[in-house]
């Protein structure tokens, strides 16, 4: 055979391409399947625990959102502040507190809620005095503004709630809480039953079926605030209930004081939910940080084991490295082959780890009867993290491989 024609720069069909490199890398790995499994397993553990952690956090936060956001993160209350020394309440809420605060951005609904002290023995559905009747726990009396029902997300079981008309004209009407209605023996409002508070009768126009906050309403005879002011001696609203948009708490808290009383904005007890994200994070953060750290540690151990095992391989494969150099491989392509090998290990570990992690999330969710939520991008990211881990772990051994002196390596024998 004689020398073929010389080519300064071989064409793609002749060159050692990336595809060839991958092929050689796969063959290099396949030659030592035990090591491949071992190192991929180490990466798998790291990636798997990260995927479980993050997937679990996603599932958990979705669950937390579903459970808490609608009530705890949106309900708030403002009340008068008692003087710490005297116990006096020097600054009552204004009568129109609900209207003032309802104008603020982020407030969905606002209504007052006041408990009225009356002689509870004098509350009845009919003015019948029966001395034989055993005393029963009589319902409380509460005064509210028309938007209070919407504020506590209440639902009427019968009839209607107060309107602006009832409030503006201080009508003698009442709405019964579900439990109060049962106590008083009122089941329907179509026949316009009355309740007596003292000697004054009030027409029952509705029965509240359920509320999500202000549960005291269910056991009360509820009258319009203006009516209570006129007939029952209400001096000022007790508390102002607010329903907010999620995350509006801090903003509304800052603005509610001035809206209520520009002259003395700091004299109210304002209890509103914190930022929504805080709420969610606080529940998942503790779990997260611990497991993320564990996952990263496992991943680091995986990377380290790849590096160690591959360094070992480089020592064993000096003959092969020397041969490849003699066959015309550049230092770079020798290094690239080892990085490709460790990247494939990382990819395998990442893929298996992601699969195991997703299974873990599904398993945990099934056990807790939660809906598993795993972002598919997480799986892709896990595979990518695996590849990067493998590549980084392979850098040091690859440099060692590239530095192998071919002449010496070839004289060592097979």
């Amino acid at each position: 055979m004689t020398a073929g024609p010389k080519r300064a720069r071989p064409s793609r069909r002749e060159r050692f391409t990336g595809g060839d490199l991958l092929g050689e890398a796969v063959r290099g790995l396949a030659g030592r399947p035990g090591r491949l499994v071992l190192t991929a397993l180490a990466v798998m553990l790291g990636i798997g625990s990260l995927v479980v952690t993050i997937g679990f956090a996603q599932t958990g936060s979705r669950q937390v959102e579903a459970t808490f956001d609608s009530v705890a993160a949106t309900q708030g209350m403002i009340s008068e502040r008692a003087d710490p020394l005297t116990g006096d309440k020097p600054l009552p809420l204004p009568w129109d507190a609900a209207e003032r605060v309802a104008r603020l951005n982020g407030v969905v609904a606002a209504g007052t809620l006041s408990e009225i002290e009356v002689d509870t023995k004098r509350i009845s559905a009919a003015p019948v005095f029966d001395p034989e009747a055993p005393p029963v726990a009589a319902p409380a009396v509460m005064a509210v503004t028309p938007d209070t029902l919407a504020t506590v997300e209440g639902v009427m079981a019968e009839g209607v709630f107060f309107s602006g008309f009832h409030e503006a004209t201080a009508q003698r009407v009442a709405v019964l809480g579900r439990d109060a209605a049962a106590t008083l023996g009122v089941v329907r409002v179509s026949d316009q039953p009355s309740v007596f508070i003292g000697d004054v009768s009030y027409t029952v126009i509705g029965i509240i079926g359920s509320v999500k906050a202000g549960h005291g309403l269910l056991g009360a005879v509820v009258v319009p605030q203006s009516t209570a002011r006129r007939l029952l001696g209400l001096a000022a609203p007790d508390e102002l209930r607010l329903r907010l948009e999620v995350g509006a708490g801090p903003m509304v808290a800052a603005q509610a004081g001035p809206a209520l009383n520009p002259n003395s904005p700091n004299d109210y007890d304002i209890a509103l939910p914190g930022p929504a994200s805080d709420f969610r994070k606080s529940l998942t953060r503790d779990v997260n940080s611990l497991f993320v750290v564990l996952g990263l540690v496992a991943l680091a151990i995986g990377a380290l084991s790849i590096a160690v095992v591959t360094s070992l391989s480089v020592m064993e494969r000096r003959g092969e490295i020397g041969l490849r150099r003699a066959l015309g491989a550049t230092q770079r392509s020798v290094a690239a082959q080892f990085v490709a090998e460790t990247s494939i290990v990382g990819l395998l570990g990442g893929l298996i780890g992601a699969a195991a992690g997703v299974l873990g999330v599904v398993g945990i969710s099934a056990a807790r009867e939660w809906t598993p939520v795993v972002d598919l991008r997480l799986v892709a990211a896990a595979a990518l993290v695996g590849v990067v881990t493998g590549a980084v772990a392979g850098l040091a051994p690859a440099v060692r491989a590239a530095r192998v002196e071919p002449a010496t390596a070839l004289q060592e024998g097979t």
Partner: protein, 229 residues
């Protein structure tokens, strides 16, 4: 560059020296000049420490001369960077080692194919070439075998096939029979003779005068100096 007789030499060394720095400066090669023409069969002998390994490394582009010019297949290798040297090595040099260096997990066919992995040989032609060189070294019947199942002589023939597959300008053999017994050594040397008769340039480095005797041109190395006999 053309030689004295007008033919461009495959290998041309002019005033090549290679020294190794250290406490005492070691002169591995001292002012070596040589020409190998296409179709030559050259042997280089010398005791260990004479510098023949260094010479082989320089010829194989695995080491660089400290001073002097080395032309391989007409290319001055002095100014070439590592990548260009690797490419030239891939295109023009076929190595045969004492230790065979076959890959245990690959078949005979795949081992020979690997010889062209980095060489400028069109991929479409490679399979055919493997078949052709296996025929040439009479190893076609062992193509699907793994090296561990072959005898030493067979392994070396596979290694020769691997070196030949890309059609190198020169076959560089380093103690090619060092791991073989007398009879199989003879077979491998017969093979070299046949290849040379077919036009292949062969350069064998050995300490064994019997092997050197097969070559048409015999050179000897002593203390870093090369002389033709």
């Amino acid at each position: 560059m053309t030689g004295v007789d007008g033919i461009e030499p495959v290998i041309a060394l002019e005033g090549v020296s290679r020294t190794f720095a250290g406490a005492v400066k070691v002169f591995a090669l001292r002012d070596v000049s040589m020409r190998v023409a296409p179709g030559d069969y050259v042997s280089i002998t010398g005791p260990s420490g004479s510098g023949k390994s260094t010479l082989l490394n320089v010829l194989g582009l695995l080491d660089r001369p400290t001073i002097g010019i080395y032309r391989l297949a007409g290319v001055d290798t002095g100014p070439l960077g590592d990548t260009a040297r690797a490419r030239l090595r891939a295109a023009e040099l076929g190595f045969v080692f004492q230790g065979f260096h076959l890959m245990a997990k690959r078949t005979v066919f795949e081992n020979v194919l690997l010889g062209m992995a980095y060489a400028p040989v069109p991929k479409a032609e490679r399979q055919e070439r493997v078949a052709a060189v296996l025929e040439q070294v009479s190893m076609t019947h062992r193509a699907a075998f793994f090296p561990a199942t072959l005898s030493g002589g067979e392994r070396q023939r596979v290694a020769v096939a691997r070196a030949l597959a890309k059609g190198p300008a020169v076959l560089l053999a380093d103690e090619p029979t060092g791991n073989l017994d007398a009879q199989t050594s003879g077979e491998v040397l017969d093979l070299f003779g046949e290849l040379n008769a077919a036009g292949q340039t062969v350069l064998v480095v050995t300490h064994d005068p019997l092997i050197a005797g097969r070559a048409a041109r015999r050179m000897a190395m002593t203390d870093g100096r090369l002389e033709e006999r």
